[in-house]
Every structure is written in C-alpha cells, then in structure tokens.
C-alpha cells in the first residue's frame, strides 16, 4: 500500500515551504518516523518524517521547489 509524505500544517500564516534537501533517495528503505525530507519556511527549517515504513517509491517535489500545505511530497511503498 502506498503512503503519501505530506507537507504538514504550518499554522495560519504559512501556506507553503521550500524543499531544502531530500534525506533519502528513491529506492531507499525508510522507517516510520525517520526524517525523509527537510523543508524551509520563512522562519525555520523542519524535517518531515516518514508516515510509514517501506521503500521510497517516488519523489514528487524537487529540491528548491515550493510545495503547499497538504501537497504530496513523496510516496512510500509500505512494507
């Protein structure tokens, strides 16, 4: 089953963030709770964790691109 990695809620004021770095590449194994991508808001850089264990199947937003809250950043193929 596929599990999306979503851009989380960032409060009332921030609607989007920039992808800073992918900490995993497609095909890598990931564990639930493990950071997979870091994103930068105007205030702070945050690491977003894998919602499930499995393999990183697809990266949908490249480094330096902007993504909105709720956007799917990547897909994990659950173990």
């Amino acid at each position: 089953m596929d599990a999306p990695v979503l851009m989380p809620q960032l409060g009332n004021e921030i609607e989007e963030a920039q992808i800073t770095e992918w900490l995993k590449k497609v095909g890598d194994s990931v564990t639930e709770g493990e950071p997979v991508v870091s994103v930068t808001t105007p205030k702070v850089t945050m690491e977003i964790e894998a919602p499930a264990s499995g393999k990183l199947k697809e990266i949908k937003v490249a480094v330096d691109e902007l993504a909105k809250v709720g956007d799917t950043l990547a897909v994990i193929e659950s173990a």
Binding site: Q9, G11, N12, E15, A17, T40, P42, K43, V44, M46
Partner: protein, 267 residues
C-alpha cells in the same frame, strides 16, 4: 515564500497571542530571545493535540509592543500576565524556550494562579552561563553574512538554519524599536542572575509540575548538571542537539511534552 498577515487580535495590543488549535487546558508557548511565535512550527500541531495551545509574541518581539520597560524577566512576565488576565485565562501550561523559559519561571513565581505546569527548554539560571556575545551581537546584526553564522551557532546541524531564516530575522530587526528592545532585554538578562536564582528556589515554582528539556551540545547556554539536579524537575537531555531542541529534535521534544501534558490532564 510569503507569510500571510496574522488574524487581527483586538483584545491585546501589547502582547499578541496566536491560537494554534486544540482543546482542554490552555498551553502558552513562549519563544526565545530574538525569535517569535513562528519558532514553534515543528511543535504546534503536537502541542495542540494535548492542550488548547497559543503561541505568544513576547514584548519586544514579533508583532507585540516594543515597549519592554527595563527589559527584566520580571517586567516581561508582568506584561504577559496582564495580557493573560485580559483573556481571563488561568492554570496555563507554560512551555518556554530560553528567554521564554525565564519569563515562565517569573510568571510561576509572581502569579502562581496563572500557571498549571512548566516546560522549561534551556532555561536561564540552570546553565553554566549564557553566551553574552550572542546576546550582544544579535540585536546589532545588519547583513546576511554575519547573521547566518551567528544563528547557526544555535544548532549542531547548521543546515537547519539557512539564508531564509537569516533574512526573516533581519526583517524583524527592522521593526521600529526592535533592536533597542532586544538590547534592553539582553542587558537585563546579563544582570539578572541573582533574581533568577531566587525564582528557581522559590516555593511557588517548586510546587509546580516541571519538565526541563536541554540539548546536550548547547553552545549558547550549556547545561549545568549540578544546578539542574538541584532544581529537582523531570529532565530530558537530548544528545547531539544544541540550543534549539524543539527544532533539532522535534520528534523527541514533541513526544516528551505531549506525555508530560497528558499526565497533567484532569481525569
């Protein structure tokens, strides 16, 4: 990237409260020196899962008044207490980082009726010594080249603080009165060790449930094991993390705080 205007808050002009959602007992998040309510982005969802959460812009910061009086922690706490009173809030869980932890301690001492519990992240008074150079330099920053390395000294992994974060701080420093307010607060912090020692040992503070969270590699306010032990609070020291454990180890921090708040819930 843009930051949308915050919802207007007509109740308070001196101290801005930003609701983060959640239900149950209220919890107020008090940021550190030179920061603002946005510092809690990685934590707000977790805290709002355990309490009715607000982030606060402390006096002299963000969208709050730049009038900080003499800048002392006690003075800042008095201004925040007035704002809490105007909102008719009581029994708040206070979650404070660094400067914000000092304000939380002063609030618990002076107005224990307002405080249910304390989460103190790298609080003043329990570390070896706050880096005076950091306090002196931050209000006087003018260029990205000097801002980035200073802010990166807050963390072990410098990639967490990038040019966007530096630019945000520089834009905040351009708010009229911001630099002067921060200088006032920095001077008062440097002179306030005796007062914070008194507060740390006060009975009003000691009877509150207390959680201390610290980064083991904090270079700005290194933890002092002896002082922390004497304070007698539940303590979590996070390895390989600097002065911003709520950002650098957000998952650990969130789990620790949610568990702490969960135990404080009324049956």
């Amino acid at each position: 990237m843009t930051v949308a205007p915050a919802p207007a808050n007509p109740l308070d002009e001196a101290v801005k409260f930003f609701p983060l959602g959640g239900e149950g007992a209220p919890a107020a998040l008090l940021h550190g020196f030179g920061a603002d309510h946005l510092t809690w982005l990685a934590n707000q969802q977790a805290v709002a899962g355990a309490a009715a959460a607000f982030a606060v812009d402390l006096p002299g910061h963000g969208r709050s008044s730049m009038d900080v009086g003499d800048g002392a922690l006690r003075t800042l706490a008095g201004i925040v207490a007035e704002a809490i009173d105007r909102k008719s809030l009581r029994n708040l869980h206070l979650i404070g980082h660094s400067l914000g932890a000092g304000v939380a301690l002063q609030l618990a001492d002076a107005r224990p009726d307002l405080v249910a519990s304390l989460v103190l992240i790298t609080p003043p008074g329990l570390g070896k010594e706050i880096d005076r150079n950091f306090l002196t330099a931050l209000p006087r920053l003018t260029t990205p080249e000097e801002t980035l390395p200073l802010l990166q000294s807050l963390v072990v992994r410098p990639s967490l603080i990038n040019k966007h974060v530096a630019a945000h701080l520089l834009s905040q420093l351009e708010t009229p009165g911001a630099r002067q307010a921060l200088v006032q607060i920095a001077d008062a912090l440097a002179a306030g060790q005796v007062d914070i020692d008194r507060v740390l040992s006060s009975e009003a503070v000691r009877v509150k449930p207390r959680l201390v969270v610290w980064g083991e590699a904090d270079a700005i306010n290194p933890p002092d094991a002896e002082r922390i032990s004497a304070f007698g609070a539940k303590t979590v020291i996070v390895p390989q993390v600097g002065h911003l454990p709520h950002i650098e180890a957000a998952r650990t921090f969130n789990e620790t705080v949610v568990a702490f708040l969960g135990r404080r819930r009324a049956p």
